[in-house]
């Protein structure tokens, strides 16, 4: 059932095109890299602020208002280009453990983000400005996010060597 779905994905016009065209894969991959470094780099800016390690003079709310729209734009681009790359050899990629773990970690990153936004971030006004230090829950969310995203990048690069 899943195998058939993956094969159907490979047979789509875009899956076929990315697989068979010599310059399409590297071009989409370059856009994927550009998008993912923007996603990860901008998330790092937020995480380091939550950990009280950077941008301490900047209010957390101002910082997230500035940064997160770029994160989301880049994430949409990374997801689209990632889907296109995956479609070119869906059966093969889905069998690589680094790819599977990467997808699980993306889900974990989303859960971590959800807990943060629905939880401690709602009281951001109380710990927004220096010299207040973000509360433990915010620091944990930032630290967990930082670690998860670096591992996601590592696994993504690793997939290319398999």
């Amino acid at each position: 059932m899943i195998k058939q779905l993956l094969q159907a994905l490979e047979a789509t016009p875009w899956g076929t095109a990315v697989r068979e065209n010599t310059w399409l894969f590297p071009t989409i991959e370059s856009i994927h890299v550009l998008s993912l470094v923007t996603v990860v780099g901008s998330i790092m800016i937020v995480d380091l602020r939550l950990l009280n390690l950077a941008s301490r003079q900047r209010s957390v709310k101002d910082l997230t208002d500035d940064v997160l729209p770029w994160t989301w734009t880049a994430f949409v681009s990374a997801a689209i280009t990632g889907t296109l790359l995956f479609s070119s050899s869906a059966v093969r990629y889905s069998g690589i453990w680094q790819f599977e773990v990467k997808m699980c970690l993306l889900v974990l990153a989303a859960i971590n983000m959800g807990i943060f936004h629905l939880g401690v971030f709602r009281s951001v006004a109380q710990w927004n400005e220096a010299p207040a230090r973000p509360p433990l829950a915010a620091r944990v969310a930032g630290g967990v996010s930082l670690i998860i995203w670096v591992i996601i990048v590592a696994l993504g690069r690793w997939v290319g060597f398999e």
């Binding site: 470094v37 800016i45 690793w158």
Partner: protein, 161 residues
């Protein structure tokens, strides 16, 4: 000459060590790409601020103070990790047109970044008063960093030799 140098470099014991230990190149590439994320987003924040589409609530001096130390630190990490990758696979990079395109863009981008920092240091309102220059600098710089990343990925797909 570059061919000779490449052959010599590939035959050094350091290069052979890097080639022999299977995890060195992937691991260094991961360090390299995480550092690229740091440089790219830091430069994007500064360039977009120069253009006037991000971070307008903060002064350029404050933005530069926040982000430039990360840029220069990550550039040093990139030069070190990049050097290890070159020593490990000299022909892949040194005989590759894409690699030299990337290096040219990098040199130009670093000169632009230094110019940005230098003018700002001399006069904190320089870029706010010269809006046209600020916009051109922001757009050109951002385009160059995008080009550096694109060319970097394409190194793997261009025939070398």
């Amino acid at each position: 000459m570059m061919h000779e140098f490449t052959r010599w470099l590939a035959a050094t014991s350091l290069s052979e060590h890097i080639q022999d230990i299977f995890w060195v190149i992937p691991t260094v590439q991961i360090v390299h790409i995480v550092s690229i994320a740091v440089v790219m987003t830091s430069m994007a924040m500064l360039d977009l601020r120069l253009v006037g589409v991000a971070g307008r609530r903060q002064s350029l001096t404050d933005m530069a103070h926040r982000f430039l130390p990360w840029v220069w630190t990550a550039v040093v990490v990139l030069l070190c990790s990049g050097s290890i990758l070159i020593i490990g696979e000299p022909a892949r990079d040194l005989l590759n047109k894409m690699f030299w395109l990337k290096m040219s863009l990098l040199a130009a981008a670093l000169v632009l970044t230094w110019t940005f920092q230098h003018m700002l240091h001399r006069n904190s309102l320089f870029w706010d008063r010269n809006r046209a220059a600020a916009i051109v600098l922001g757009v050109v710089s951002l385009a160059m960093w995008v080009g550096i990343i694109g060319a970097g990925r394409w190194i793997a797909y261009v025939e070398h030799g």
